[in-house]
């Protein structure tokens, strides 16, 4: 039973990172109908930038983390301004491919500058296990979970109570209506990219602190897809819940199904099998808008 609880708690903690990264993905999709395939690469490069700042400036991980968020915001604005804005009326395929292209460029930068080897953050939290009563978890997981909660709550409040948040929600719910009442759409798109870059970088730094940095971190970007489909492509609340569910499926899948089926790597594949099943039985996801084209 301890094994089960361990996997479950681990799944929830990992899932909270997915939820946070998925927030950025859904936000860009809602604001501009762009599927951002560079999300994972944003996460990866955010982590590497933070690592570089930690070693170059000697300001500790929290300070470097905040500086990283600023740098990532600048990068997001550049990406939106230089590439995505010119693609505003392009077909879906071109937009998807352009984000894939951006992802490839970011990945090659990481490989050129830092190489394919695993790098580590300096240990700045003493890694002591915390006893939750029924299971013991590493304290760094608790930190990561709390950070994710803070970020998501922060953005939740931002969308709910600020004027800018209201404008973004307006643009997300209807581009045409928002534009007709004077919402500057291109600024909303840029802001969506900034938010996506911030949550990605946060996810990257957290994962980097837990498991070390490799270019493989970018895989987190695609692991968000099942969460997004499960939660509903245009539902931020649904995606947040689904992120945790996918994290749990991954952990339980990796932990139990391997013993039952003798297949390795089922943990990472299981969420994608769930994705296909969801598309078969409930394509709008848990909380998404139903937009099935009946044929």
């Amino acid at each position: 039973m301890d094994y089960f609880w361990g996997l479950l708690i681990n799944g929830i903690l990992v899932g909270s990172i997915y939820s946070m990264v998925a927030l950025g993905f859904v936000l860009i999709y809602k604001a501009s109908k762009v599927l951002n395939f560079a999300q994972g690469e944003l996460l990866m490069i955010g982590a590497y930038i933070c690592l570089e700042l930690v070693y170059q400036l000697q300001i500790g991980v929290p300070g470097a983390f905040l500086l990283t968020l600023v740098l990532m915001s600048v990068m997001a604005i550049l990406i939106e301004r230089l590439v995505l804005r010119r693609m505003m009326n392009a077909p879906v395929m071109s937009v998807v491919m352009v984000t894939i292209g951006i992802g490839i460029i970011l990945r090659s930068i990481v490989l050129l500058v830092w190489g394919p080897i695993t790098l580590h953050f300096p240990a700045w939290i003493r890694d002591v296990p915390v006893d939750l009563g029924f299971v013991r978890v590493s304290v760094i997981y608790i930190y990561s979970f709390v950070t994710c909660l803070i970020f998501m709550a922060g953005f939740g409040l931002f969308f709910r109570y600020t004027r800018t948040g209201l404008v973004m929600r307006a643009a997300a719910s209807s581009q045409v209506a928002a534009r007709s009442v004077g919402v500057p759409l291109h600024r909303v798109f840029a802001l969506a990219w900034v938010v996506a870059a911030i949550v990605s970088a946060a996810g990257g730094v957290i994962t980097g602190n837990i498991a070390g940095l490799t270019p493989e971190l970018s895989a987190y970007g695609v692991r968000v897809f099942p969460a997004v489909i499960l939660g509903g492509l245009d539902s931020i609340v649904g995606t947040t819940i689904a992120g945790v569910i996918i994290g749990v499926i991954e952990e339980l899948g990796g932990g139990y199904l391997r013993d039952w089926t003798g297949l390795s790597g089922l943990g990472t594949v299981a969420p994608f099998i769930v994705l296909i099943i969801i598309l078969w039985i409930r394509p709008q996801g848990l909380m998404g808008t139903k937009e099935v084209e009946r044929l």
Binding site: R86, V92, M97, G101, I105, P116, F225, L233, F272
Partner: protein, 351 residues
Amino acid sequence: MKQSAEKHHPMPNGLPLLETQFERYGAAAIILVLVVGSQFLSGYYVSLLTTITIFSLAAMGLNLLSGNAGLISIAHAAFMGVGAFTAAWFVIDMGLPLLLALLLAGFVTAVVGLLFGLPSLRLSGVYLILATFAAQVILYWFFEQALWLTKSPDGRPVGIASIAGFHFDDSAHYFLLVLAFTVAGGVVYLNLLRSGLGRSMEAIRDRPVVAQLMGMNLQKTKLVAFATGHFYAGLAGALYGWHLQFVATEAFNLMRSIEMLVLIIIGGLGSLAGAVLGAIFIVLVPEFLDMAGNRLLDDVSVIAPLRLGIFGLLVVLFLLYEPRGLARSWRKTVHLFNNQIFKNQTKQNRS
């Protein structure tokens, strides 16, 4: 390519397979040069030619799917893998003849494609993109796990192709077989495009509601496009297996699927020329970059990421500045050329 009957009895809808005399003679000349020329080339160049030809065939399928019907798939390489492994299984484990196995592999791939794509064909395009992405991940994992089919996680050797006792131990001979399939695939592709079905695919891609109002069957058309596109993928994948004489799992990874999409975008969406030009580009440019890289730099750890970066940059720049691909650049050149000749002719007529 040209059928003599066509000249006197044009198609009821007035669309010949290839529109201009230039294109007809050009296609015939290219095929002739390839058939004869390939027999004199060294193994390295024959291998490049074969790869380009196979990729052209696969790209026709993806172009039909994504370019003409607007159904975007990020799993084309994985479906090529399905074709390659099933064909190998049919020939080696079941003892079927090669030609039959190739066709069966195409059918199996079409069915597997439908399994993944069917639910999202009812939804908007973004769902299909994510569903095909899932297909890529699941199928690749399947190749690594299903050892009854793939023999080892890295893939399985298939040996030399042979048909009715004839062994293709000369790679130039195998190229002819590949070329025959690709030319046949090209004729089918062109034929489909000029048919009502092909044109309703494009109508549904551009204006689904209007197309439906005009009585086009959305579901049937999407299904046919999906099945046909994956048939091409399976066939091309199977041919690729015997080209390398080894069905390598790694050849069907996500990066290759992305490359296939880049191929049709850089080549030109929705046209045969796009598939071929894109295939030439996607095979020759990395080859050239490797050569240049090996000359200029000796550090392998720099060449590979640099190549990747140039590839990504090319994708972004093409989408920004020539979103309709090389086929459009090619057409512009041809039109310029034709106009020039036409001008000269009118001048002669006047004088």
